[in-house]
Amino acid sequence: MKPKNNESISLNRPHHSFSFGGKWSFILTFGLIAFLLYLFLCIAPLLTSLWYGFFRVSTGNLKGAQFVGYQNYITILKDKTFWMSFRNDVVIIAGKLVIILSFSVFFAVSMTKFGLKKWETGIYRFFLYLPGILSVVVITYYYQSFFDGNYGIFALLSGKPNQLISTHPIAIVTFIASWCGIGYFMIILISAINGIPASVYEAARLDGANQATQLFRITLPEIKDQIIYVVVSIISSSFAGNMNLTLPFFANRNENNMVMGAYVYHYANDYNELGYSNAAAVLLMIISFTVCYGLNRNLTKGDQAK
């Protein structure tokens, strides 16, 4: 509808009981398909997993399967291995947060504030980002050799064989996962730092602020939202994602190197206990949702208060 006399077109159309124009046509055209896909691909499998958790079943077919109610959930919650897996996940996440945050902030600040030449920045970015795009197969194969108790770097340097993979499995996974994540989050923080107006730093310099003061009083507060994003991303991706490293890396799966995702996989793939593993998957979802929701709520509490 063409505006008359420079009137602007308003989207506040007269209210109709079911309009095919305006926002409803937009929603139906662009939102509905995506929403339906989300329901079919995310919500329906989740509910199916919840349902399977009530059965003792070894195949994908529930015919003849024994309905056990909440027994799978109760057994899991009593299983020491499940809680060890949870603990391992928490340790890996805590380690990743410390390592990734500190190194990605350091590298992001270095790339933007240390006066590096463009080509230098390009090279550093490439090498730091490279682990994030390598296949997990390549990464695990490389690090299995790296940490090999007989031929690995530590065995060669010390001249003595070791059993690091057995004695420090979670430390190794934390190191590898952090190494893979630094580059990706560094890029995000670089973008955020580049978005801070240069005039802010100029004003700070005129007021006598040194580099450290600028870092802690300007840079970090300005990129606080991105840091929160990094924290929430690490935590939310880790609960299900840690198993991507542990499964191929540890030939011998046991409670010392198991994470919750691997626990789900272990019972589905190694024991054919699909009902049990689906119940574990549901519990994993509840735990990760609770943690992420609580964290997001606490970290954005200040913004909400504003």
Binding site: L39, L47, T48, G60, N252, Y271
Partner: protein
């Protein structure tokens, strides 16, 4: 406005619940149909087969040869699913009762026990009573195959047809052992006495892949149990029907021997964390004198062996037995099965019978380096490697073999965990036995 919200909410709820209900209704009801009838009718010229191959060229070639032979002789068109991941790829079809007609029970991603429990495999007892040789209707299959090779399940029925025999044990490089003056141990006492000689030259007495601790279990420990030559004891521990059998002092004794061997530092460092290929590589490079493995080892290492003809692969039965006990082999079978809901069961059974014909047995024996399932098979006509001949002669010379017939469900998985725990020093023998008993109670 309220009506609009109600309509919107109802649409969303239906959108969520309808597919969920439909999916599960399909899953629950899909198995409800009658068994296909094994009757003649219109000529059926179709068959689909699922054959796990581990990528070894000889094995791939063997199956291709047999399938082509079958298609030429019968005019049946065979749709073949093969490969390393074929079991995982076809799992959904089995779950939805739309399986291939014929399956070779081998490889990861396939549990024959679970398939029997879920009614996926066709019972074969009645068929086997009257089944005859492919070319000779007067010769019954039951006369050709040793019935001890037929796996037993909880309901006592027959679900699988053996087509090959195999065993597991200890492998050495004979040339290396002779060159270094090492003695190959044949019993536990010799295992302990020869270990120091190996270690003095920086060679670990034994390696195994911690990823597949079942290799060590069936190469070393289970033959040591079989060496007691007590069928009731053997059936008890391999069937897990009575969990208390694992409190038998003999069961503990073998584990304690293994624990002593481990505590003396006789396992290759970090072997518990080794994969298949890592353990093979360490053994091939003489970081360990022995590796526990099955008859597939030569095929898997064929390219390495071809590059190093000086390497002389040598097999022995488990040395974990006591010197007072007889040398014992545990014989297992490689089997095939017929899908209960397959559409071409007659052709599948025909193919299974075809596999037991002498020429096809020869092809399989040469491809796998396994033993034939036929009682009176003549190996002289087979093109076998020197290693395969040595292995076959060793097994033939071992008196009173014991047969692995039962399926103990997930007890085997826990046993593997126990072996690795003892090997790492994180689990005692008594703790391991309790874990095994607890798992046996769940079966």
């Amino acid at each position: 406005m309220r009506n609009k919200k109600a309509i919107f909410g109802t649409v969303i709820a239906l959108a969520v619940l309808v597919p969920f209900i439909a999916m599960n209704a399909t899953i629950i009801s899909s198995g409800v149909h009658a068994d296909p009838i094994l009757s003649s009718g219109e000529e059926d010229l179709s068959l689909s087969v699922q054959i796990h191959t581990n990528g070894a060229p000889k094995i791939e070639k063997a199956w291709t040869t047999i399938l082509n032979r079958f298609m030429d002789e019968t005019d049946i068109n065979v749709k073949t699913y093969t490969g390393v991941n074929v079991n995982t790829q076809l799992k959904a079809q089995w779950d939805n009762d739309n399986p291939p007609d014929f399956v070779f029970i081998d490889g990861n991603g396939l549990s024959d026990a679970a398939m029997v429990k879920d009614g996926k495999l066709l019972p074969l007892d009645e068929w086997f009573l009257t089944a005859t040789d492919f070319d000779d209707e007067n010769t019954k299959l039951s006369a050709l195959i040793d019935s001890s090779l037929i796996p037993l399940f909880a309901d006592g029925k027959m679900y699988q047809i053996p087509i090959l025999r195999n065993t597991e044990g200890a492998y050495y490089d004979k040339a290396f052992m002779d060159k270094e003056g090492f003695q190959i141990p044949t019993c536990f006492e010799e295992m302990m006495s020869t270990a120091s000689a190996f270690k003095a030259k920086g060679v670990a007495p034994l390696t195994y892949p911690g990823q597949y601790a079942s290799y060590l279990l069936w190469s070393y420990l289970m033959p040591a149990y079989a060496a007691y030559q007590d069928q009731e004891f053997w059936d008890g521990i391999t069937s897990a029907k009575n969990p208390e059998i694992y409190r038998d002092s003999r069961f503990k004794d073998v584990l304690e021997r293994f624990e002593r061997f481990v505590k003396d530092g006789n396992l290759l460092n970090d072997t518990v964390n080794y994969s298949h290929s890592q353990s093979q590589s360490a053994w091939f490079n003489h970081k360990a004198a022995a590796i526990s493995n099955g008859l597939w080892l030569e095929g898997e290492m064929s390219s390495s062996l071809a590059e190093h003809p000086e390497f002389q692969m040598y097999f022995t039965n488990s040395p974990l037995r006591l010197s007072s006990q007889p040398e014992t082999s545990v014989i297992g079978s490689n089997t095939v099965a017929i899908a209960r809901y397959g559409k071409h069961q007659k052709n599948a059974l025909k193919f299974a019978t075809f596999l037991l014909r002498e020429d096809n047995q020869k092809t399989l024996v040469e491809g796998y380096n396994y033993l034939s399932a036929l009682r009176d098979f003549d190996y002289n006509d087979c093109e076998l490697t020197a290693t395969a001949k040595q292995i076959f002669d060793t097994i033939a010379a071992t008196p009173n073999p014991v047969y692995h017939r039962y399926n103990w469900g997930t007890v085997g998985d826990i046993f593997n965990t126990v072996i690795n725990g003892i090997a790492e020093g994180t689990l005692s023998v008594d703790e391991g036995i309790e874990r095994i008993i607890n798992e046996a109670k769940k079966q």
